[in-house]
Amino acid sequence: MMLATVIGSYPLRYDQLGKDAILQSVQDQLNAGVDLVTDGQTRYDMIEYFARIIEGYTFDTKSYIKGKIGKGIPDLLLEDLETAKGLTPRVKGIVTGPVTLVFSSKIKGFYQGYHDESVYIDTAGALLDIALAMERQGAEWIQIDEPYLSVGAPMEIAKKAIESIAVNIKVPVALHVCGKVASVIDTLLDLKGVTHLSILQNTRLMSTGKTLGLGCVDTKKSRIEDVKEIRDLIQTALKSLPPERLVIHPDCGLRSLDRKTAFNKLKNMVIASRLALPQ
């Protein structure tokens, strides 16, 4: 059976529901049949979470880097992870990748700017603190979200920064990259420490031993894909990879959908993944 997971966010808000936002997000995922859940990233967006908990970063309507980047303080994420683990032991820990975090922040001090490699490496160091803490807390996987990699990130620096996190994690490490990855796929396939790639497909993937995360429902559109079309997509992927090297999930976070739509997309995705394999 293929593992079903989500990328990260779920359309419920902590500022409106408190801990119930996490509990209901997790329960919805479980009810839909998702195996490996997230806490729903209900408090903030992917930038604000980390801009608030990394020394040197500040958040004031937007993210700034104002001083030397120091430690990552994981308390808030651990609290939410623990809340999620109250409903299931199978929870994924997520960190926003160093390139995406730096590109989304205004550099106001200490570093020379976006060409300065040390800003990415220091950010990766703080993210490693957070990832290790989530691993100790029982996260089954760590996922690194790097959507900027498909739109022109400095790949040599990105490789160094991502690997500095991934090689130090013992649990499986997934890398989530949205968009068209053809121009960077070779670099992604060679990343040390990354065991799972959340991208579409590539022939060289076969020989790397990495697992492919298949984004099989569209999180930008409210239309709910029917089971047959999702099953057909999964079966196309199964022509290239065995089921144990495929993970099924939406193509991105579910934050921009309404709750009912997000749930129904997940439910159809899980049913399709079960029907895709020979009965």
């Binding site: 937007k62 995406t100 989304s104 060409h115 959507p147 900027y148 022109g152 949205c178 921009s256």
Partner: protein, 113 residues
């Protein structure tokens, strides 16, 4: 995010203000799809008041540029804030797009197209 537009002769100008994040990217994408329907595309995106652009925003711009050039047109950028300009430099976007400091320079660059 606010999106405004203006026409100067044959050139369309789109004004983006605020944050081009994942939510706003859908609205900008709709505008860009409409703007790139006609041929030839002569479009300027003015970014003087654009404070932030996410990867989704960059993706939308890239897709529209590709579409415009396929139709023998172009999308050019003007008035980038220093933060956005530096991210564009590092990401290689300033090699893909023609970038102008002033809006009128961008408009003039379309003369003869």
């Amino acid at each position: 995010m606010e999106i405004g537009d203006k026409k100067v002769g044959a050139v369309d100008i789109l004004y983006l203000s605020g944050r081009l994040d994942a939510y706003a990217a859908n609205d900008v994408e709709k505008k860009l799809i409409a703007a790139t329907e006609k041929t030839p595309v002569c479009l300027i995106i003015s970014m003087e008041k654009l404070e932030y652009i996410s990867s989704s925003g960059l993706r939308v711009l890239l897709a529209s540029l590709k579409k415009a050039r396929k139709q023998q047109g172009d999308i050019r950028l003007a008035c980038l804030q220093p933060y956005v300009k530096e991210v564009f430099d590092v990401a290689g976007f300033t090699q893909l797009f023609k970038v102008f400091e002033q809006e009128n320079e961008a408009v003039n660059s379309f003369k003869g197209v």
